[in-house]
């Protein structure tokens, strides 16, 4: 654990006099997140929605985006940008049934860009849905019992849960808790049903929001549950994290005793603005399962009441805690709970990544983890992943689980089905992970260009060629098969959790990145800026030099990120 040097001095606690941010006003005037979304959807002159509605639609699980590859071209064509919408599911714990998988595939083919994207938060994303198809898409999702409520926006987002394939009973417990927390913290407004599902129109004032309040949270809020020793949900990057503590000795071995509570993690930052920074969450105590919802709700309400509503770049829980101090936060939490939490129980993480290939669970069922590069399930020449997984879904009797690393587990397969699934995996080029280098297998990238409006540089489209070049450097130094985490994002907001990687590229401008180095293998240490705003050649030169040094001087089993710290290539002063 390494929170010691990361807290900023708690000097900035005086109430700010700045006016509340524009988004706060939009939320306040929105009548329970309704705004003018219906009018916007009916405007036939544009594929866009009104500006204020672009904020509100996030709470319904959708972002307005445009194809940035076409922006200049379309302006020249005297056409507005090619607007479309991303829709993100609320799938706590990332579990769906084979039937749901088939339905989601059908939606992707019918309304989206013929791809499914598995996110780093165990959700599905549809991209390229045009305005007139938005409602139909939402309804098709609803028909298969999946919604997108609060998948984006200033609310508690999709709740993550370790995609633990082996301990079936425990996975079920974690999954159940992720669903319960998600439901408990979900907005109470019926706006989603009203706008997308033709639910009854609200008459009178908007619904009460006892937890989130009338203007919802100051900023997004992320929750995750992890089962050690695999930190696949990057629990220290969550605003609110739960580390599952198991009964390892008692009569009921393997049962869930409770959770260590983690608060104040968060990764987003802004280039050149030192008041923004990624932060590792604090572990502040232990709670029993029955205390879970109350604690979760109380953490959310403290952030609701104390979070910064004047500056959205400074509005996450991590800043509230950094500004006021973790002791203040604990005091506030315990005061509201009416009891103190006992000290956290011991735990240990060994990895961040997924375990690929077949694993046999404790109950004798089998689980196959497939590598899905950048989480993009698409049909490409020679790799018909969308079709292949659809076919698997047609015969699969267990479930599908998305991992926090954009990968997929075909879970709960009876032994006699394994061969059939293996065949389909092989036929559709889905089984390549076992033959990949670890660096390629564990790499993450956000969506970025051309889809995401925030992107400053390529990420998903750049990942394959960048990892290939890193493989080249590793091979040159005889390290082809070492584990190494590489993550790329198109902007500093942190969707692929780059701040926890051993090597991270964060987009600055087309072809230029901030190079961060020094994360650990378990998601417990932030990396630091090593070079800012450099191009690929410069990045590869740096890596060649440092990996060469690592090859010569590393200790046995020593990870690259750890090596850099031990050798003082990186120092605490560099943390920024």
């Amino acid at each position: 654990m390494s929170t010691e040097v990361l807290d900023r001095p708690a000097s900035n606690v005086a109430p700010k006099l700045q006016p509340e941010s524009a988004v706060e006003k939009i939320k306040k005037a929105s009548r329970g997140l309704r705004g003018t979304l219906v009018e916007s959807l009916h405007d036939p002159l544009t594929g866009a929605i009104r500006e204020s509605d672009t904020q509100l639609i996030k709470f319904h699980g959708s972002y307005m985006q445009d194809d940035r590859d076409l922006r200049a071209e379309r302006e020249h064509q005297k056409l507005e940008p090619a607007y479309s919408f991303m829709i993100r599911t609320r799938t706590p714990g990332g579990v769906v049934t084979p039937k749901q998988w088939q339905d989601l595939t059908k939606i992707a083919r019918t309304y989206a860009n013929q791809t499914l994207r598995l996110t780093t938060r165990q959700a599905f994303q549809f991209h390229g849905v045009i305005k007139k198809d938005l409602k139909k898409t939402m309804q098709a999702m609803n028909a298969t019992l999946i919604d997108s409520i609060a998948a984006c926006g200033d609310v508690n987002r999709n709740v993550m849960g370790s995609a633990n394939p082996v301990e079936s009973k425990l996975h079920q417990d974690v999954y159940d808790w992720s669903v319960k927390i998600s439901e408990h913290l979900k907005p109470k407004t019926r706006a989603y049903h009203e706008i997308w599902l033709d639910g009854e129109k609200l008459v009178g004032p908007a619904e009460e929001e006892p937890i989130l309040g009338p203007v919802y949270l100051p900023r997004k809020f992320k929750t995750g549950i992890v089962v050690p020793p695999h930190n696949d949900v990057d629990v220290f990057s969550q605003d609110l994290g739960f580390i599952a503590i198991l009964d390892r000795e008692g009569v009921d071995e393997g049962a869930l005793l409770g959770f260590n509570l983690v608060v104040g993690g968060g990764l987003g930052a802004t280039h050149g603005e030192p008041q923004t920074f990624p932060r590792i969450g604090d572990v502040i105590g232990f709670l029993t399962p029955e205390q879970t919802l109350k604690v979760a709700e109380t953490v959310v309400m403290i952030q609701r009441d104390f979070g910064d509503r004047t500056d959205r770049k400074h509005a996450r829980l991590k800043y509230t805690i950094a500004d006021r101090g973790i002791e203040w936060f604990k005091g506030e939490l315990f005061k509201r709970l009416g009891y103190e939490l006992p000290p956290a129980r011991p735990y240990k993480f060994t990895t961040q990544g997924d375990r690929f290939g077949w694993l046999r669970g404790h109950d004798g069922r089998w689980h196959l983890t497939l590598r899905i590069e950048s989480g993009r399930v698409a049909d490409r020449p020679g790799a018909l992943h969308l079709t292949g997984l659809e076919k698997i879904a047609q015969i699969h009797q267990g479930d599908f689980r998305l991992t926090g690393n954009q990968n997929l587990i075909i879970a709960n397969v009876p032994a006699d089905q394994c061969m059939k699934i293996d065949q389909l995996v092989a036929d559709h080029g889905l089984g390549k992970a076992l033959f990949m280098t670890p660096v390629r297998r564990d790499a993450l990238a956000c969506v970025s260009l051309p889809t995401c409006g925030l992107a400053m540089a390529e990420a998903e489209r750049y990942l394959p060629s960048f990892t290939e070049r890193v493989e080249g450097v590793l091979a040159k130094h005889g390290l082809k098969d070492i584990p190494l985490t590489v993550r790329i994002t198109g902007c500093p907001n942190g969707c692929a959790r780059p701040y926890l990687a051993e090597i991270a590229l964060i987009g600055r401008a087309p072809g230029r990145y901030t190079l961060r180095l020094g994360g650990d293998a378990t998601g417990e240490r932030l990396n630091v800026i090593y070079r800012d705003n450099i191009d690929e050649n410069a990045i590869l030169t740096v890596l060649d030099e440092l990996i060469g040094k690592y090859a010569r001087e590393r200790e046995s089993e020593e990870r690259f990120g750890d090596f850099l710290w031990r050798n003082h290539v990186l120092t605490a002063e560099k943390r920024a």
Binding site: L45, T46, E73, Q77, L79, K132
Partner: protein, 632 residues
């Protein structure tokens, strides 16, 4: 029609007479009122017994010459009052001109001048200004009329055209007439409108002074022959009334026809620079549409919003080669025709139409190849010809029906190329010396790949900074209302939206206070919403007040502008009832009739009219000059 004139205060006219005057004043147009003011002044100056008779035709004919209004001087009635001593009033000639492009007007003006030069009383009137019931009083009538779209008359002639076919049309035993019909033989219903007018007049008992003449796009020769004959016949008629020793007719004042703006004619095109030439549809569009900006110093003085611009183009090498291959002719052979000598290749490149197939060519092919083309040449059933022209070009039919050709014969069988004209999509008030065009690239349509339109592919391949030869086709009928306070409704799907971009620019630039309402239609919101960004901005600036769109392929059922018109029926009817102008531009075969039907439906539904009343209401709009179309 002028707005109501209110007579009030103390004045020495009894009330019943006052009402008559008021009635009269509301029925006459501006020029007629101006003329009357002079007439009354003259009458006041004359002795009570000397009230002048109306021997002049009222100057309604010049109404279309809007630029003349400023200089208009009412003829002094005293001078005009020159009652003929002869007992039998001599018939005067009326020439009705009905054409879109101005060719008919030019022929009519020439004829008028020639007739007047003989001292014969005559007037020329544009069909849009002609009150259909006047026909009963005509004795001598020439009609110059063109055909458009699917055998339709020009819009301005629809009033008289339809009237002649109704039961209300009077018998015309006294009338002597002739029709000059203009058309394009590449369209199935060649010269249909002229034929119909000719037959309807004959059916009403009128007598042909000379037979109708049907002209193709190379109309000049046939038209001037007809005009010479027409002049001779008028003279013969007039001579019968000529008393010994003197002219029977008061000499009509020569029409002061000097146009307010100089004309840029096809025969003498100007050189314009290409400032922009860009695709304005998205990647998913089925048909390419380009926005072209042209300029030369002074261009802004040569056109108005609503006019069209022609581009002189050369046929592509591929088309020329295909023709030479199909006919096995040598491109270097010299051919002399119409006093010009060029090589065959030059004729084919610069002077002859190689895209559209016309009847004369098919006739020639039938003769030479001995092939049976009777179904293609059938004038009653034109389906085969329609299909052929939609899918084939000149070279295709030459290749399909091989025959012996000489270079001379080929040049003579092919129609002269006339260049293509495009509705101008700008207003000089906004863009100065530029003219913008919206060009649909023929043949870019995926299901019509065969038809690479020579003109539009020429435009596509004309780079920025290069030069093209251009001329202006005046379209005086298709203008924003002189009264800027009037509301306008514009229906322009596809490239039909072009003139309305000019209209909106114009109305904004001159500060017109009336509202602008546009109906636009395309295939998809994402790919072919022409000028989408500009319309969005115009709405924000309040220079466009309402925009209704129909995208046919964005939903299961196809939705077109006519559906939107019906949906907006209540407001549309209200706008029109309050004096709004309605403009339609674009496709003549499907869109314009559908829009017209929608308009009738709106009148029926919103105005509680039966079918006849709705027809009459629309006819009134047309007669009023408030339902204007530029369809092709």
């Amino acid at each position: 029609m002028s707005s109501a004139v209110i007579l009030q205060g103390n004045f020495p006219i009894p009330e019943d007479r006052r009402n008559q005057l008021q009635q009269l004043a509301t029925e006459l147009n501006r020029e007629q009122l101006l003329w009357l003011s002079g007439y009354f002044a003259g009458a006041a100056a004359a002795t009570p017994s000397g009230i002048p008779a109306f021997t002049e035709n009222l100057p309604g004919a010049s109404r279309a010459h809007a630029p003349q209004l400023q200089q208009f001087v009412p003829p002094t009635p005293v001078q005009a009052a020159a009652p003929a001593a002869a007992a039998t009033p001599a018939p005067s000639l009326t020439i009705i001109s009905a054409s879109h492009t101005g060719n008919g007007r030019k022929i009519s003006e020439k004829l008028l001048a020639a007739v007047q030069a003989l001292g014969i009383q005559a007037r020329m009137i544009k069909a849009g200004d002609y009150q259909p019931r006047e026909i009963a009083k005509e004795k001598l009538l020439y009609v110059v009329i063109s055909t458009h779209g699917d055998g339709d008359p020009p819009d301005e002639a629809r009033g008289i055209y339809e009237f002649l076919g109704t039961k209300r049309a009077p018998q015309l035993p006294e009338l002597q007439y002739s029709v000059l019909s203009l058309g394009d033989s590449s369209y199935p219903k060649f010269c249909e409108a002229g034929r119909v007018v000719d037959e309807r007049l004959a059916k009403l008992g009128a007598k042909r002074l000379l037979p109708r003449v049907d002209c193709d796009v190379d109309f000049e020769k046939l038209a001037s022959t007809w005009a010479e004959d027409a002049l001779a016949r008028v003279r013969e008629v007039a001579d019968k009334f000529k008393p010994a020793g003197g002219p029977a007719f008061a000499t009509a004042p020569a029409a002061a026809a000097a146009p307010a703006i100089a004309e840029l004619k096809r025969e003498q095109p100007a050189t314009a620079e290409v400032l922009a030439n860009q695709r304005i549809v998205g990647r998913g569009a089925l048909r390419e549409v380009r926005h072209v900006e042209l300029s030369f110093p002074g261009l802004g003085n040569l056109y108005k919003a609503g006019d069209a611009l022609g581009i002189v183009h050369r046929n592509p090498d591929s088309a020329i080669e295909a023709v030479l291959k199909a006919t096995k002719l040598d491109g270097s052979t010299a051919v002399t025709r119409d006093g010009k000598t060029h090589t065959l290749l030059e004729w084919l490149r610069d002077e002859r139409e190689l895209t559209r197939i016309a009847r004369p060519l098919l006739t020639q092919i039938a003769e030479r190849s001995k092939a049976d083309l009777s179904d293609l040449l059938d004038t009653r059933n034109t389906a085969a010809l329609t299909k052929l022209t939609a899918t084939s070009q000149v070279a295709d039919v030459l290749a399909r029906y091989p025959a012996e050709w000489s270079a001379d014969a080929l040049v003579s069988a092919l129609r002269p190329v006339h260049g293509r004209v495009y509705s101008i999509a700008s207003s000089p008030a906004a863009v100065g010396d530029e003219a913008h065009l919206t060009v649909a690239v023929v043949g870019s349509d995926t299901d019509r790949k065969l038809l690479a339109g020579a003109a539009s592919s020429f435009v596509v391949n004309t780079p920025v900074d290069s030069q093209v030869q251009v001329w202006i086709e005046r379209n005086d009928r298709f203008r924003v209302p002189a009264d800027g306070a009037r509301d306008i409704i514009m229906i322009g799907p596809g490239t039909g939206v072009a003139p309305f971009r000019g209209f909106v620019q114009e109305r904004e630039a001159v500060g017109a206070t009336g509202r602008n309402w546009l109906f636009y239609g395309g295939r998809s919101l994402y790919h072919d919403f022409l000028y989408q960004l500009e319309w969005q901005q115009a709405l924000k600036r309040n220079s466009l007040h309402r925009l209704d769109v129909a995208f046919s392929r964005d939903q299961e059922q196809k939705i077109y502008v006519q559906h939107r018109i019906k949906e907006a029926g209540k407001e549309l009817f209200s706008w029109l009832s309050n004096g709004a102008y309605l403009y339609v531009c674009g496709d003549a075969t499907a869109m314009a009739p559908d829009v017209n039907a929608a308009l009738l439906a709106v009148a029926a539904e919103q105005g509680g009219m039966d079918a006849d009343d709705a027809q009459a209401w629309v006819a009134d709009l047309t007669a009023d000059g408030r339902y204007l179309r530029d369809v092709y």
